[in-house]
Symmetry: C2
Subunit: 119 residues, 2 copies
DNA sequence: ATTCTAAATAGCTAATTAACCATATACCGT
DNA sequence: ACGGTATATGGTTAATTAGCTATTTAGAAT
């Protein structure tokens, strides 16, 4: 309700909805294994599209497409260098989110099995 | 790589993939505004399907379906009480995730505008 | 200019899914 | 049993999208 209070009356539901949509958008960005793999690959160093294609097990076109999605949402930045394009992490916060999901899954695994997640 | 080291050789890529898929599954659960709205509603108290239908702006069938998805993934628990079914949060960790996304969006908003998110 | 390489895009298909309507199931009160 | 209410499910539609192949764009080197 804190948000709603900052807005004009009767906009409560709509505001919340738009906030929920923004949240959902971020979660959606991270809801594909290939995109998570890209982020994981770029965590320690920026890489060219070609390097990513070599590492991930999918086509150059697909890597390019997923990179674009992450770039369009400002999760990644790009730097052209001659023939190639290097992508880098612009929003390290995504790793905090991944870590938190890992913790959630691990808490759960403790109750059942024992596999530990760690991205 | 820490995971891979705990497994037998040559299972590196597959393991990582399966971990990424589990992560992605959690993110996907939270990537729909309606499901986020349900979680938000249930945060402070468990509610019946009917109550949720009255609050959220969507059909009973849809609410029921989304509840089932969250229930199947053990995010929610259900308790039958006579005619009605009450759902409750089983995995409060989701709110930590939402809060972290809010912080991420707020950090971003500081650089541009000023709207503050708070779920 | 032409060729080679890197990356992006267009067009396509198959799969997923949110939301709807209609119906079924299940519990309650009478 | 029967009607009423609460929830779940079946079936459909429309929209989204990951991944593919083929093509295009653009820079580098000869």
């Amino acid at each position: 309700m804190k948000n709603a209070q900052r807005t004009k009356k009767n906009a409560t539901v709509e505001l919340q909805r738009s906030v929920l949509e923004r949240l959902a958008t971020v979660f959606k960005l991270l809801s594909e294994p290939t995109r998570l793999a890209i982020l994981h690959e770029l965590r320690n160093r920026s890489q060219s599209v070609g390097e990513l294609v070599a590492t991930l097990g999918t086509s150059q076109a697909n890597v390019s497409k997923q990179l674009r999605i992450l770039f369009d949402h400002s999760i990644l930045g790009r730097k052209q260098s001659g023939n190639q394009v290097f992508y880098e992490i612009l929003e390290p916060g995504v790793f905090g989110l991944c870590a938190e999901v890992c913790r959630l899954l691990n808490r759960r695994a403790e109750n059942n099995g024992h596999i530990q997640y760690d991205i």
